[in-house]
């Protein structure tokens, strides 16, 4: 049998990091309190002090720390991103997750010993792109965008020696990683530029009798009845009127959940499974890490009799956006 993939969990704060480690994550990923990472939200992430404490905590328990520096260096401020890379190396992180080709090159030249991962924001979906980054920048792992079917993921794995990490759970966006500018269309800022999708300063939740309206930079993107579930205030999850019908024209608020295809994911040789959600609380990290750890451990001995326990499914369903889950592109019947 193939060995179990690493469980890679999100840490937006020190308590979240500890929750991930304590509940069975093999690795945690985190970022600085600035726009060098794609979860640059107010009050979230790590300064130098909490980061070194977090790294100490994870390493003491034999877990890895991966540092996300996964936004694109902005003109005139490239030094900020390079400084972030130097800082991560100094802190002794196990790998740096990068998306920007210029930064990959900088990290490779300046810190040849540092392990590098290609971020999902790097948008490499083919083995040709992945092998190019291996040849040029020495990347040892890549995080696949959530656009490939399971068969396509397998095809990539067969044609590269770079480790493959896939998403296993978390909020889905429009799945155009590294190339999505919908947030910029509404507010002039996007993950690629400022490290945040639909930054909170542009979001307004407006309580009306019997309904809640969501506005992004003044644009009405959804209206919920009092008993309807809410989602994140992004353009891709808004309801719009298209040819006389109002519906989720781009994407429904939903979460990816691969529990039911976990044996197949392991069988094709995926090296790591990533959980989305650095913006979520330590409670979410505890709940999701615990469930996925239990599911992975159930597959440790070959897992012929693996079945998804209702308790794992219930826990994951509870924290899902829009309270519903999908296999996303993994099981897409069309090409």
């Amino acid at each position: 049998m193939s060995s179990l993939p690493d469980l890679v969990c999100p840490a937006g704060s020190l308590p979240a990091l500890k929750a991930a480690v304590d509940n069975g994550a093999d690795a945690v990923y985190l970022g600085y309190k600035n726009d060098t990472n794609a979860r640059n939200f107010a009050g979230l992430n790590f300064d130098a002090k909490t980061m070194s404490e977090g790294i100490r905590y994870a390493h003491a328990k034999g877990r890895e720390v991966l540092m996300a520096i996964n936004t694109f260096a902005q003109a005139g401020r490239v030094a900020d991103w390079q400084k972030a890379i130097d800082g991560a190396v100094d802190q002794g992180v196990d790998a740096i997750i990068l998306a920007d080709i210029g930064l990959l090159d900088y990290a490779r030249q300046r810190h040849p010993q540092q392990r590098l991962h290609l971020s999902v924001q790097g948008s490499a979906t083919s083995y040709e792109a992945i092998n190019f980054c291996q040849r040029e920048f020495g990347i040892q792992r890549t995080v696949l965008p959530r656009v490939l079917t399971l068969a396509q993921v397998e095809h990539v794995i067969k044609n590269t020696s770079v480790e493959i990490e896939v998403f296993g759970f978390g909020s889905l966006c429009v799945m155009n990683e590294g190339r999505c500018w919908l947030s910029s269309y509404a507010c002039g800022e996007s993950p690629n530029t400022v490290g945040a999708c639909s930054p909170a300063k542009y979001v307004k939740w407006d309580k009306k009798p019997g309904a809640m309206e969501t506005r992004l930079n003044g644009i009405l993107i959804d209206r919920f009845g009092d008993d309807e579930p809410a989602g994140y205030p992004t353009l891709c999850k808004g309801r719009f009127e298209v040819q006389g019908e109002t519906y989720y024209a781009l994407e429904e608020p939903t979460s990816l959940n691969v529990l039911s295809i976990l044996p197949e994911i392991i069988k094709i040789g995926v090296r790591a499974i990533k959980v989305e959600g650095r913006q979520r609380s330590p409670t979410y990290v505890t709940q999701v890490t615990r469930s996925l750890r239990a599911a992975l451990d159930a597959l440790k001995d070959g897992g012929e009799r693996y079945h998804v326990k209702p308790a794992w499914q219930a826990e994951l369903a509870k924290v899902s956006e829009g309270s519903q889950a999908t296999l996303g592109a993994y099981s897409r019947p069309w090409r």
Partner: protein, 149 residues
């Protein structure tokens, strides 16, 4: 660790009707005393606290009819007895949702998705407060609050 979990519940309507008629300051002062105790223990990060300066907050417990108005000024949380304007940030939820949040039994985004927690006003300020509370390492909470299953 305890196996005790806080269930989702909603107090009967007459509690809120009664609660609205009671003076609003006792529970408000208790909340503010708690926040100031957290300040004293240096649990709340300085960098985020500056963003709270002079902002007005309202915490409303829907099923008890309790409402607390307060502000943060000069390094302390202070009650606002006669709020004249809409607050900068307002939270509204039933008591069980607040208890589940504070005990880290439920995730705030989960409660928000399920419409059990309402956040209105300055969304960025709301995010700062949410993330600030998430980042707190509660050292001296009684055992029964550190729930784990």
């Amino acid at each position: 660790m305890s196996d005790f979990t806080i269930p989702k519940f909603r107090l009967p309507g007459f509690v809120a009707a009664l609660g609205q008629k009671l003076p609003q300051w006792p529970h408000g002062l208790a909340l503010i005393a708690g926040l100031n105790a957290a300040l004293k223990l240096k649990l709340l990060p300085e960098s985020e606290l500056t963003a709270l300066e002079d902002k007005r907050f309202r915490v409303q417990v829907l099923d008890t009819g309790g409402t607390a108005h307060f502000t943060y000024r000069g390094g302390l949380f202070r009650p606002v007895f006669r709020p004249e304007h809409e607050p900068d940030l307002a939270f509204a939820a039933n008591l069980s949702a607040y208890l589940q949040l504070l005990s880290r039994q439920e995730d705030p985004d989960t409660l928000f998705f399920k419409r059990e927690l309402e956040i209105t006003g300055d969304t960025e300020l709301g995010l700062i407060v949410k993330n600030m509370l998430d980042a707190v390492e509660w050292p001296a909470l009684p055992k029964f609050l550190l729930l784990s299953r």
